[in-house]
C-alpha cells in the first residue's frame, strides 16, 4: 500500500499538471515613463504622453547617423507562470496577422518570462519606429497610429497584450492672410482662422521682431510648442519653403552630442536589463547642456519659429491679437504660427511690417474737445469715489452728523467705522471690480439716507398709518365677500 501511494504521487506529480488549467499569463501596464526611472525618468500623465509622440520628438531621430533613439517607455508587470519561455515585443500595424511579414514590424525587445519575476520591465517605444515601424524614418504624418504587441509565440503571433498608440507628427498648416494695423504703442495682427478645428489647432502665437532681433516684448515663456531642443537638445532648421525640408544642427559649443552608445542600428533589441539601463536619459542630459542663444533675423516666411520671438499667445478661436508695449514710430515685423494639440508648431507665416503710432481714444477726444467730465463719483466712501465734495458724500456726511451722532448706537457705529474704515477702504481699492461693486451697493444706502434726512418724521408715520388702514380695509372686504358667497 505504501509503495502504491508513492507510485501514485510520482505519477500524479507528472500527469496532473498537464490536465490542470494553467494560470493565465497576464501583463499589466504599470505606467508610461519619459525615461528609465534609474536615469531620472518619471511617469507621464495623459497630456505628457500624447505630447511625447509629437513631431519634435520624432525629429530627434532624423539624420540618424549616430543612432539617436529617442523613446519613451512602457513599464510592465507580469503575473503568471514563470516557465522559462520567451515573450516578444513588437510595434506596427496588424502584426498579429501571420500573413504580415514580421519585417514590416519593429521588434522592440525579447525577454525571458522569468526575468519578470518580482521585477518591472521597461520596454522602449522609439517614436521614429512608431511612425515608421519598418525602417524607423521620421516623417510628418497627421493622426496616425501603430499597435504595440506582446507575443508569446512568433510563429502563431499569439498576442498576450496589445495597445494602439496614436501619434501626430505633422504641424498645422501655416497661417494665411496675415495683416497688421497700427495702434498706440501697439500693433494688431490679423490672420485667417477658418480651419482651426480641422487642423487641430490649440493656440496661435504671434512672433515679432524689431529690426533683426526679437521685439522688446518678446518672451519665450509665452511660446507653447515643443521644440527639438526641448526634447533632445538639437536645433531644427527648416528650409525656406513651407514644405519644410528639415535638417538638424548641433550647437557649436556642445561636444556631448556625439553619442557613443552601443545600439543595434536596425532594431531595438534588449534582452537583458543591463542593456535597458544603458539607455541614457537624453532629454535631461541635453537640456542641461544646451547653451542656447536666440539667433538674429529669424522671422522668415516658411522658416523655423524660434520661441524667443513670441510676443503673444491666444486660443484657437482668435483671429487677431494686439501686441502692446511697442515703441511708437518704430517699424516692427510680425508673423503667426499655429500650435496643435500635440504641441506641434507650424512653420512661420507670411511676415508683415507695421509701425505703431499715437492714437486718440474716446476719453482723450472728449477731453480735447472741451468736455467737462472729470470722472468724479457721487458717494461718501472717498476711497471708492475719490471726491470729498460730491453730493452723495455730502449726504452721507450729513446723515452721520445729524442722525448717527445723535444716539449711542450711531456713535458706536461711527467709532467702529473710523477705526476700521481705512483697512476696508484699502482692501476695496485693491480691485477695480470691488470698487465698482461697492459703488453699486452703496447707492441704495445713499438713497435711504436721503429719505431719512429730508422727509419729515411725521410723514413716515402718516404713510405707515395709511398703509395699515388700507390693508385692514382690504382684509375686511375680503372677509365680507367670502361671507356673502
Amino acid at each position: 500500500m505504501k509503495t502504491f501511494l508513492i507510485l501514485f504521487s510520482v505519477i500524479a506529480a507528472f500527469v496532473f499538471p498537464r490536465f490542470m488549467p494553467r494560470a493565465r499569463a497576464q501583463f499589466t501596464l504599470h505606467g508610461r515613463y519619459d525615461g528609465l526611472p534609474g536615469n531620472g525618468g518619471s511617469s507621464m500623465d495623459e497630456v505628457e504622453y500624447s505630447q511625447h509622440t509629437n513631431m519634435a520628438r520624432c525629429l530627434c531621430d532624423e539624420d540618424n547617423t549616430e543612432d539617436e533613439l529617442y523613446s519613451y517607455y512602457f513599464a510592465f508587470n507580469y503575473d503568471g507562470p514563470f516557465d522559462g519561455s520567451d515573450v516578444f515585443f513588437y510595434l506596427g500595424s496588424d502584426c498579429s496577422n501571420t500573413s504580415v511579414a514580421l519585417s514590416q514590424c519593429a521588434e522592440l525587445a525579447s525577454l525571458n518570462i522569468n526575468s519578470f519575476n518580482n521585477e518591472t520591465k521597461y520596454i522602449p517605444i522609439p517614436v521614429n519606429y512608431l511612425v515608421d515601424p519598418e525602417s524607423g524614418t521620421c516623417s510628418e504624418k497627421n493622426s496616425g497610429s501603430s499597435t504595440f504587441y506582446i507575443f508569446s509565440s512568433l510563429e502563431n503571433r499569439d498576442t498576450l497584450w496589445s495597445e494602439t498608440i496614436s501619434y501626430d507628427t505633422r504641424g498645422p498648416a501655416p497661417r494665411s492672410e496675415i495683416s497688421a494695423s497700427s495702434g498706440e504703442n501697439a500693433v494688431t495682427v490679423h490672420w485667417n482662422n477658418d480651419d482651426a478645428d480641422e487642423e487641430g489647432i490649440q493656440y496661435f502665437n504671434v512672433l515679432c521682431m524689431r529690426e533683426t532681433t526679437p521685439a522688446e516684448v518678446a518672451d519665450s515663456s509665452m511660446a507653447n510648442w515643443v521644440d527639438t531642443e526641448d526634447v533632445c537638445g538639437k536645433v531644427l532648421e527648416y528650409d525656406d519653403t513651407t514644405d519644410a525640408t528639415k535638417k538638424m544642427i548641433y550647437p557649436d559649443n556642445n561636444d556631448d552630442y556625439q553619442v557613443n552608445d552601443d545600439y543595434d542600428n536596425d532594431r531595438f533589441y534588449f534582452d537583458e536589463q543591463e542593456q535597458f539601463d544603458h539607455k541614457p536619459n537624453r532629454k535631461k542630459h541635453y537640456k542641461n547642456d544646451l547653451n542656447y542663444t536666440c539667433p538674429d533675423n529669424m522671422l522668415v516666411e516658411g522658416g523655423r519659429p524660434y520661441k524667443c520671438y513670441v510676443c503673444g499667445s491666444t486660443t484657437n478661436t482668435g483671429k487677431k491679437m494686439r501686441i502692446g508695449g511697442l515703441e511708437n514710430q518704430v517699424e516692427y515685423s510680425f508673423a503667426v504660427v499655429a500650435v496643435d494639440e500635440y504641441k506641434n508648431v507650424s512653420v512661420i507665416s507670411e511676415v508683415v511690417s507695421e509701425t505703431p503710432l499715437p492714437t486718440t481714444d474716446f476719453a482723450e477726444h472728449y477731453s480735447s474737445n472741451g468736455g467737462s467730465a472729470t470722472g468724479d463719483y457721487c458717494f461718501v466712501a472717498t476711497t471708492v469715489y475719490r471726491s470729498k465734495n460730491h453730493p452723495f458724500v455730502k449726504i452721507l456726511r450729513k446723515f452721520r452728523d445729524k442722525k448717527l451722532l445723535t444716539n449711542e448706537p450711531g456713535i458706536a457705529f461711527t467709532k467702529w467705522y473710523y477705526a476700521n474704515g481705512k483697512t476696508i477702504a484699502s482692501f476695496i481699492s485693491s480691485s477695480n471690480i470691488l470698487v465698482e461693486s461697492v459703488k453699486l451697493l452703496l447707492l441704495p444706502l445713499v438713497l435711504l439716507a436721503s429719505v431719512l434726512l429730508f422727509l419729515p418724521w411725521w410723514s413716515l408715520f402718516l404713510i405707515s398709518g395709511a398703509a395699515v388702514a388700507f390693508k385692514k380695509r382690504q382684509l375686511i372686504k375680503g372677509k365680507l365677500r367670502s361671507i356673502h358667497r
Binding site: S181, S182, G183, E184, A186, V187, T188, R322, G324, L357, P358, T359, T360, D361, F362, A363, E364, H365, Y366, S367, N369, G370, G371, S372, A373, T374, G375, D376, Y377, C378, F379, Y385, P391, K403, T406, N407, G410, N432, E436, K439, L440, L443, P444, L447, L452, W457, W458, L460, F461, I463, S464, G465, A467, V468, F470, K471, K472, Q474, L475, G478
Partner: protein, 238 residues
C-alpha cells in the same frame, strides 16, 4: 434718534400691511427683462460745436439691456410698485489716428445704469373687464456708473500723457410710459399650468418709452447720459 425709531415703525407697518393682505391671492413681485437701442446724448454738452461721441461711435449707439424688479406696495384702482432697475450698456469704437481716421485700437464706453422708481400700473381693466392691456407709468431717479477703456483694455485717462481715470457716475431722473399685453389671455390653460409649475401668475410683453435725463441735475462735470428711447421686453408676475 426719533426719526430712526419712526423709520423702523414705518418699515414694520409696511411689512405688517403686506402680511395683512397676504391671504389674498396676489402677485407681489413683477420681474421685467428688456432691451432697447440707446444713444447717450454725450455730444449735447458741446452745443453742436463738437461731436466726440459720434466721431468714434457713430450715431447708432448700441443696445442697453436691463432688468427691473417691482414690489407691490398698494393695490387699489390699479397697482403701485416700488422698482429697482439695473442694466448694462457697451458701445465699441476705434481710436482715431493722427489723420482722424479709425485706427486698430479699440476704445469702448461702458455704462452700468441703475434706477429706483415708483411704478403705477393701471391694471383695473384687466381685473374688471379682462382686457389684457395694462398701461403704466414710471418715475424715478437713476444713477449710472460709466467708464471708458483704451486700446489695451485698461481704463483710459483724460489726457494723452495720463491724468485722472475716465470713469465716474452720473445721476439723473427718468419718466417712462408703456403698455403691456398680458399673454395669459390668449392661452389660459398654458398660463394656469405655468402658475402651478413655477408660481408665475402672469406673463406679459411690453413696450415702453423712457425720457431719461442724466446730467447730475445740470451740475455738469460728468458725461451727459440722457436719452429718449424705446424698450421692449417680457414681464413675469409671481
Amino acid at each position: 434718534m426719533k426719526n430712526i425709531i419712526y423709520s423702523i415703525i414705518f418699515i414694520f407697518s409696511l411689512l405688517f400691511s403686506f402680511q395683512a393682505g397676504a391671504n389674498e391671492k396676489k402677485s407681489w413681485w413683477l420681474l421685467e427683462i428688456k432691451g432697447g437701442k440707446f444713444v447717450p446724448e454725450i455730444d449735447s454738452e458741446f452745443g453742436g460745436n463738437a461731436t466726440p461721441f459720434a466721431d468714434i461711435y457713430g450715431n447708432d449707439g448700441s443696445i442697453v439691456y436691463k432688468s427691473e424688479i417691482n414690489f407691490l406696495l398698494l393695490d387699489f384702482f390699479g397697482s403701485l410698485y416700488a422698482g429697482f432697475e439695473t442694466g448694462f450698456y457697451f458701445v465699441s469704437g476705434n481710436s482715431l489716428d493722427e489723420a482722424g481716421e479709425a485706427s486698430s485700437d479699440e476704445t469702448d464706453l461702458y455704462l452700468l445704469p441703475t434706477a429706483l422708481k415708483l411704478v403705477y400700473r393701471f391694471d383695473w381693466l384687466d381685473k374688471k373687464w379682462k382686457i389684457p392691456l395694462v398701461p403704466y407709468g414710471k418715475a424715478g431717479v437713476n444713477y449710472t456708473l460709466w467708464w471708458i477703456t483704451q486700446g489695451d483694455g485698461s481704463i483710459a485717462t483724460w489726457e494723452p500723457e495720463g491724468g485722472s481715470k475716465a470713469s465716474g457716475g452720473t445721476m439723473g431722473y427718468e419718466f417712462t410710459l408703456g403698455v403691456s399685453l398680458i399673454l395669459d389671455f390668449f392661452d389660459q390653460k398654458a398660463a394656469h399650468n405655468l402658475e402651478v409649475e413655477t408660481g408665475i401668475t402672469k406673463t406679459c410683453i411690453f413696450a415702453e418709452y423712457t425720457w431719461s435725463t442724466a446730467d447730475n441735475f445740470g451740475s455738469g462735470k460728468t458725461l451727459y447720459l440722457s436719452d429718449q428711447y424705446w424698450m421692449f421686453g417680457m414681464g413675469f408676475s409671481f
